[in-house]
Amino acid sequence: MSPAFFENLFAAGIARGTPLLLAALGEIVAERSGVLNLGLEGIMLASAMTGVAAAHAAGPLAGLAAAVAVGAAFGLLHAFLSVSLRCDQVVTGLALVFVGAGLASVGGAPLVGLSPAAPHFAALPIPGLEDLPFFGPVLFSHSWLVYLGFAAVPVVHYFLTRTSWGLAVTACGEDPMAALAVGVRVARVRYSCVAFGGAMAGLAGGTLSLSVTPGWVDGLTGGQGWIAVGLVIVGGWRPLPAAAGAFLFGAIHRLSLDLQGTGHEFFQDPNVGYFLNMLPYLSAIVVLVVASVARRQAGAPASLGRS
């Protein structure tokens, strides 16, 4: 395995991990405010489909905007059900997966197999930095959405830990009654956070269908929404570990393809491919268990998921 192998792997890992990262960042904010949103898979599917549809009509930027709007709409719906109607957040999240997945399947039917698959965002190498050995192609030769992801991590971290709004969010997630007592408008904060989470999931879906794997096929996300939910737990509700996890999973997704391309006999056997396809999901389970053992779950917001 040459250095080029790792270069490609890490570069692809970062590109493929960006939707995971964006969705996970949004979910971190939502869960920090105390609302569990399990609907990410459905939201990502619906927004990915909408993004492609809108991009065909009016270009990739319009597609991205449409994807974000759809995500925010789903987020608001979940907020209404969870915050205003105090419904069980697990069930409403699952219901949204049904709705989103069904919507994507129905609306996406005419979009499958179109050529060109979708107007998409081309890579935007940063002049100068792109020529760095190894780091150039790995970090600085991606589409602008990846750079957005890079920037989003410190921004979300700063927001959550250093601003008074962030403090209000954390307060809502830990003890909403106490927050209410000091004047924090819990419902309003939660609505905003969940809508933001939905918008980020929409952005993730749009990134997936307009940048990472342009075009639409049924079930495009392949479980990435669920992995994003898991990343929040694994990352201890903090942006930076979640980002590391996202890029790691991006690389694992890509690994099975790359291994089959190395020419090594074992991986050329097509039967091995089926088991390589299981790799992202099995590693997700392993990472979740490791995180549980390391007591990451102790870092959960105390009022998470309580209606």
Partner: protein, 366 residues
């Protein structure tokens, strides 16, 4: 000062029995309405669509009823399994994966283990046992991880669904493939569950009907599960664990053991559903034989409020929808309608849990 009524929302102390039934009905109605609106937006004529669904699923004569009941069989079994887990607040979202491995195990027995000449009862029993065990193992894994490490069973059971898909694909496309086709060889005769259509000799009205003995098994399972949940100690312990796990622990109940058992039982039912679908309908392992039974089962279990009798009813309703939705393209409509209905019912549940009062009040003028 002016008179202005105040709207007060307060939680109900006692859940009103009539509303427990009415609110899901209202939610169902609202969901159907919203679904119709959604269909219209997507350019599909909702009136014609719903009529087509009704006809294909329910009112189109005995054949439609037979089709509906046939589809309800795996749904009932999966939903019963989900209900067991949900009772203990264990969210088994991976029933689809457990169904898939159950189907795989049953196929293995039918194709490679029990000879084609063996008595049918033996073959079917072996397949059922294999399907049950495979599903139980697939369900026990998230259960074990939850009991031992407190890892979220939602995420682990869901990841295992994707693993199960690829696992089955390996056997469908490669290891057990029938001469390179995308399916395993057809089951021998003794691996087929008896169908109504087999009685066509004595009762010509039954000819061509696909309803199979698995449906009876599902009904029996529903009865058995009712007894388990309402009349046994295990059921009681699950109930307490679901309400308050600390109480259960303090009372000395083997909480961790019950967690694993509940998830294993849940998976076992789904595995049986997979076996029934194989033996009763498909008769060979192939991809996408399940239109998401494991996921629809979650909806069924929740709508039925975990009551086994209600599960049978709701399953029949929803499988009618599934049968009928085959008439309308595209196929994602069934899933979308299920999602809209579930969302509406969940929202309507608000009225069962909270009471809205209008209090006469006064408003100070500024």
């Amino acid at each position: 000062m002016t008179w202005a009524p105040k709207i007060v929302v307060e939680p109900r102390i006692e859940r009103s029995r009539s509303l427990l039934f009415l609110s899901p009905m209202a939610g169902l109605a609202a969901g159907i309405l919203l679904g119709a609106v959604g269909l219209e937006i997507l350019g599909i004529r909702s009136g014609a669509a719903f009529l087509a669904i009704l006809r294909a699923g329910f009112t189109g004569g005995p054949y439609s009823l037979s089709d509906t009941a046939t589809k309800a069989c795996p749904l009932i079994l999966c939903a019963l399994g989900c209900a067991v887990a949900f009772k203990a607040q264990l969210w088994n979202v991976g029933a689809e994966g457990q169904l898939l491995v159950g189907a795989w195990a049953a196929t293995g027995i039918a194709t490679f283990v029990v000879p084609a000449g063996a008595p049918s009862v033996l073959m079917l029993a072996a397949m059922a046992a294999a399907g049950a065990v495979a599903g139980a193992v697939w369900g026990a894994i998230p259960g074990l991880l939850r009991a031992r490490f407190q890892t979220s069973e939602i995420l682990t059971s869901l990841m295992l669904v994707y693993v199960a898909v690829h696992w089955n694909n390996y056997f469908i496309y490669s290891a057990w493939s029938d001469r390179g086709f995308q399916m395993t060889p057809l089951y021998p005769e003794n691996a087929w569950l008896p169908r109504l259509g087999d009685l066509a000799g004595e009762a010509p009205a039954f000819s061509g009907m696909t309803l199979h003995a698995g449906f009876l098994a599902a009904l029996v399972a529903a009865g058995w599960l009712w007894v388990l949940l309402k009349r046994t100690r295990f059921g009681f312990e699950l109930h307490v664990s679901g309400l308050n796990i600390k109480t259960a622990r303090h009372a000395g109940m083997p909480v961790k053991r019950n967690m694993v058992l509940a998830m294993a039982l849940s998976g076992c039912m789904a595995g049986l559903a997979g076996m029934c679908e194989m033996s009763g309908v498909v008769h060979r392992l192939q991809e996408n034989f399940s239109p998401g039974y494991g996921f629809t089962a979650i909806l069924v279990a929740w709508l039925a409020r975990l009551n086994p009798a209600a599960i049978v009813l709701v399953s029949l309703l929803l499988s009618g929808l599934l049968v009928g939705s085959k008439q309308i393209q595209p196929s994602g409509i069934a899933m979308m309608l299920q999602g809209v209905v579930l969302t509406s019912v969940v929202a309507a549940d608000f009225f069962a849990r909270f009471r809205i009062r209008f209090e006469p009040g006064v408003q100070e003028e500024a």
